[in-house]
């Protein structure tokens, strides 16, 4: 196995685009190294992006924040600006692993690992996050976070492409977001179901816009428009929340596995979407 730790993104892209065989980009390593140790993957090339200075930066941009690919969960959790703007995204990222893992794990890594159960992804999707990708020859493109994962362990990234950063956009006034996951324990676990909600209120208090995303209930994170529609135009009264929960459950197409059953995930997706909506609503009202 070859290990490279370039100091610029252009070098990183160059190395990756010329490589044959199995390649992996290493940020925090909290997925890649675990997979290597367990024998799930034996890469021919590992490109460590932590030596690229810009990758560690959180920079303000147009009222939002650009988060570098090597920014750890701990770093994000200590950033007052991001926390104030998108608390749900920060909370979701901070749910990954233990305190020790938080010192290494990155939000971008969580996205690119492409697990249907990734905690940060429903929050990123509801926040409307934009992913910045660099490819061979320095070509840059931007796609919504929603379009990165295409299936378990699979992304839309082409050979030689690296995610450089994620833009968490500016947030309109009277907005709030939240992410909740179900795990049997209190920490150190993988979501059995995850639910993210982001919403914006009209000045009169009715819901102007909403996004609802669910994790671990399909092969990819689901953006559930009927669940969002169920609360748009309402003040999140019980009937509206019941409709949101029902729509969330209806959108699920989960599997039975060691972590949960189809029946359980379907029901709990609705329960969590509803609870997350209530938190997001409280945040939007200040």
């Amino acid at each position: 196995m070859r290990y490279e730790a370039p100091s610029t993104i252009d070098q990183a892209v160059e190395i990756l685009s010329q490589a044959d065989g199995i390649t992996r980009v290493l940020a925090g390593g909290t997925d890649v190294i675990v997979q290597m140790r367990s024998g799930m993957v034996e890469p021919d090339l590992v490109v460590d992006i932590k030596r690229i200075d810009a990758m560690h930066e959180i920079t303000p941009e147009d009222g939002g924040f650009r988060v570098g690919a090597a920014v750890s969960g701990a770093q994000l959790g200590e950033h007052d600006g991001v926390k104030a703007l998108w608390p749900g995204v920060v909370e979701a990222t901070e749910l990954i692993g233990s305190t020790q893992v938080q010192g290494r794990a990155t939000m971008v890594g969580n996205l690119c690992n492409a697990s249907p159960a990734a905690d940060s992804v429903p929050a990123l999707v509801t926040a409307g996050a934009i992913v910045s990708i660099v490819g061979p020859g320095g070509a840059r493109r931007e796609i919504p976070a929603y379009e990165v994962t295409t299936g378990p362990g699979k992304t839309s990234l082409e050979k030689g492409e690296i995610v450089e950063s994620i833009l968490l956009p500016a947030r309109p006034a009277r907005s709030g977001d939240a992410y909740l996951r179900f795990i049997p324990r209190t920490e150190m676990d993988i979501a059995v179901v995850g639910a993210g909600v982001a919403l914006t209120l009209h000045p009169d208090g009715t819901c102007a816009e909403a996004k609802v995303a669910l994790g671990a209930v399909a092969e990819v994170v689901l953006l559930v428009e009927p669940a969002a529609s169920a609360i748009v135009g309402t003040r999140l009264e019980d009937e509206a929340l019941d409709a949101l929960a029902a729509a969330a459950s209806a959108a699920c197409r989960p599997i039975d596995d060691k972590r949960g059953t189809i029946e359980f995930r379907t029901k709990v997706a609705g329960v969590l979407a509803r609870r997350a909506a209530v938190i997001a609503h409280d945040r939007a009202r200040g």
Partner: protein, 756 residues
């Protein structure tokens, strides 16, 4: 006689016993100096790795190791051909290295020694095995069916008269009890019958199995390994490898948890044979994945319970059938389960039957009170249900039926002095039992029993010229026992705690010691320590008598000094232990105390636990809000480590109750062989586990000690189930009570509530 001994114990005033000094191994543990199984190396050492069966059940036609041996750095490959048949340890041999069949996923089929881990791993991939895949069975009830795949063609159920003609997966049948249960049920006003299932749990010790073996061509072996019983490791390895017992010296490392799971061998015989074949030391360390798939978790079980009681709360009959699978070989702990099931109760009519069943799972090993927790889950759930149905307080109901001294136990013997009633009364009086509960919260209670055990024990105690004492024990310290032994030696000798240094000796340096299991160490090694100290005191009194030129009988030992007594009282200045030790060379030479025996009289320990849980009715998630463990310790030598045992048992029980389980796919392969998906409780899952130490002295121990290590895991599962029943109105009869099951039970119950 019994009362006299009891009074003598109660009357004694202790100076050190009952205090909480720092453990002697503490500094090494917190600084990282302590040497655990994988922490030792040797010059020229090779790395050993095991190839394991990917199939749950398969006949092994052939094993081709030629390509593996060609890998640079590979020094040896061993297979079934490298081990001679062994009648005495047939199952152990077959478990450490598969013979004609791989009997479970993870079953060792070959092992490699190489100069690097990478070379060993590469070699494993090149070993070619021709398998004939066979149908498998992992569920205990399915394994008992007539059409189940058969693991062993020659397995005829023992304990059945007349013996069955056909082989089956049922290895043994047991029966215990007395009276006439049909008669008892006829007298009952209320009878409850329930079926229960429990899933296999792993001991989940943090330290994986590890060893370093060196075996020379002339049959001299050394083995360093993490184990609860290095003498047992020595005896089994000597037998499997064809060595003389005296030539195999085994040293126990510090141990990162065992809980019963490190009472047998897995890697050790392979490492020894690889070492013999290569002429070099071989180190082997299991991965976590291997620990789950190929060490010894506990049994999964199913059981049928029937209990009857009168309206005024007297149990008229108790009946249980217990079916335990213990993996691919005979030896599930169903016998203990059937014995302990009703041990808490004084019953006129009781009958338990146990079936020991084999399946395509790893061979079970002991786990804290082996067999008892599963039986207690079933029985104590029904006991609570009966109490609720009769409108009697659950502790009161247990008190009305509790076993006490003189009662014939449900499994035969008559109980000596025991402390169940005291634990029930302490629980009832505890503030926890009457504390208010919040919404969606419920409280449950359960009691539990474990026999405890004595066993072969040797201790040496050497008095050094500088007045310090070396205490040499042979029971690996799995729970702070060196601190307890040191306290007992210092107490008996009348010297400070820090003047005694306790070590765990290797198998060549001390007489036989049975494994640290059966909650025996503080009882048996403790008794041996006290007796060895008394033996040394007798000698020290004799030395003082010689110096003073008076008879030995005229010298007594008091407060760490030999003193002239009787007619000679006051004639001479008392001599301290240090005074006598200093001149021992001139009074006849070295002074030591010894004890070598099988101590009988291990006192049983009972416990009663109180648990509060809160249930999220929309997700089925159960949170333990409060937990109080009350248990009889006889006499707590070092109360911190007694409390630690109560807490550890409670935590492991909560894990078993709520989330821990072996999950098998239809292919018979374990789906969750890691701590991510095998869910032991993490710190933030639990409240502080409160403890109450009850002390009903054991007349069989000089200080009244009862072992406390195991009983603490017996009540929690039933206590949690009972609390959940109170909180959410659902009676869970299957472990683990994981959220999907609890939510389904709640949802199934709700329409019926609405209909009412």
């Amino acid at each position: 006689m019994l009362d006299k001994a009891k009074d003598a114990v109660i009357d004694r005033e202790f100076k050190l016993v009952g205090s909480r000094p720092v453990r002697p191994d503490g500094v090494d543990k917190v600084t990282g100096r302590a040497r655990f199984g994988a922490d030792i190396s040797a010059p020229g050492m090779l790395v050993g790795k095991v190839l394991r069966s990917p199939h749950a059940h398969a006949r092994i036609h052939s094993i081709d190791i030629h390509a593996a041996l060609q890998v640079p750095g590979v020094k040896a490959v061993v297979t079934r051909d490298d081990f001679a048949e062994n009648a005495k340890h047939k199952d152990v041999l077959c478990n450490v290295m598969a013979r004609d069949k791989a009997l479970y996923e993870g079953h060792a089929v070959a092992a490699v020694a190489a100069t690097s881990a990478a070379a060993a791993r590469k070699a494993l991939k090149l070993i070619k095995i021709d398998y004939d895949i066979l149908p498998h069975v992992t569920d205990v009830d399915e394994a008992m069916r007539d059409d189940a795949p058969l693991l062993h063609d020659d397995m005829i159920t023992s304990g059945v008269d007349p013996a069955p003609e056909k082989p089956s997966n049922v290895a043994r049948r047991f029966e215990f009890g007395h009276g006439d249960v049909d008669d008892g049920f006829a007298k009952a006003d209320v009878v409850i019958e329930r079926e229960f299932k429990t899933e296999a749990a792993h001991q989940a010790y943090i330290e994986p199995h590890a060893c370093l073996a060196s075996l020379t061509e002339d049959g001299h072996g050394e083995l360093f390994c993490c184990t609860q019983g290095h003498y047992a490791v020595r005896d089994i390895c000597a037998s499997l490898c064809g060595l003389e017992v005296s030539k195999l010296r085994v040293t126990a490392s510090e141990i990162g948890g065992g809980f019963g799971g490190k009472t047998t061998v897995f890697l050790e015989p392979l490492a020894l044979v690889l070492s013999r074949k290569t002429g070099r030391p071989v180190k082997m360390v299991m991965s976590r994945d291997e620990v789950f798939r190929a060490s010894g978790p506990t049994a999964s079980t199913s059981s049928s319970i029937k209990i009857g009681a009168t309206r005024d709360g007297r149990i008229t009959a108790g009946q249980g059938e217990f079916r335990y699978q213990g993996g691919a070989f005979t030896g599930s702990p169903v016998q203990f389960g059937a014995m302990c099931a009703f041990a808490c109760y004084a019953l006129d009519n009781v009958k338990t039957v146990g079936y020991d069943v084999v399946t395509n799972r790893p061979k079970q090993a002991a786990y804290r009170a082996p067999g008892a927790p599963m039986a207690a889950f079933a029985v104590e759930s029904v006991i609570e249900e009966l109490a609720v149905k009769l409108g009697i307080d659950p502790i009161e109901f247990r008190l009305k039926n509790a076993a006490q001294e003189g009662d014939k136990s449900s499994y035969g013997p008559t109980f000596p002095r025991i402390g169940l009633i005291e634990t029930l009364e302490a629980a009832k009086a505890h503030e926890h039992y009457s504390a208010p509960l919040g919404p969606n919260q419920g409280r449950g209670v359960a009691s539990g029993y474990w026999f405890n055990f004595g066993g072969a024990t040797s201790v040496s105690l050497n008095i050094h010229p500088d007045g310090t004492v070396a205490l040499v024990v042979g029971t690996p310290d799995i729970g702070g026992s060196r601190a307890s032994m040191t306290l007992m030696a210092a107490e008996e000798l009348g010297i400070p705690y820090d003047k005694v240094n306790c070590i765990v000796a290797d198998t060549a340096s001390l007489g036989l010691n049975e494994t640290s299991h059966g909650s025996r160490v503080t009882f048996a090694s403790g008794l041996a320590t006290i007796e060895a100290a008394r033996n040394a005191k007798t000698e020290m009194c004799a030395r003082a008598a010689m110096i003073w030129e008076i008879s030995e009988e005229a010298v007594t030992w008091e407060d760490g000094h030999a003193k002239p007594a009787g007619a000679n009282a006051g004639d001479f200045e008392p001599m301290s232990l240090a005074d006598i030790a200093k001149i021992a060379e001139k009074t006849g030479g070295p002074i030591s105390g010894h004890f070598e025996k099988n101590p009988a009289g291990a006192g049983a320990s009972f416990a009663t636990h109180i648990v509060d849980v809160e249930v999220d009715p929309e997700t089925g998630r159960v949170e333990v809000k409060r937990f109080t463990a009350v248990q009889d310790a006889g006499k707590a030598i070092h109360p911190s480590y007694v409390e630690g045992q109560f807490q550890g048992g409670a935590v492991q029980g909560v894990g078993w109750a709520l989330n821990e389980e072996y999950v098998y796919g239809p292919d018979g392969k374990m789906q969750n062989a890691g701590f991510l998906d095998y869910r032991v409780p993490v710190c933030s899952d639990l409240p502080m586990i409160d403890t109450v130490i009850v002390e009903v002295p054991n007349p069989g121990h000089p200080y009244g000690v009862r072992g406390v290590g195991e009983t603490g895991i017996v009540p929690p599962m039933a206590a949690v189930a009972n609390a959940l029943s109170a909180a959410a109105g659902v009676r869970m009869t299957e472990l683990p009570m994981s959220p999907p099951k609890v939510l389904r039970a709640i949802d199934d119950t709700r329409p019926s509530i609405a209909a009412e």
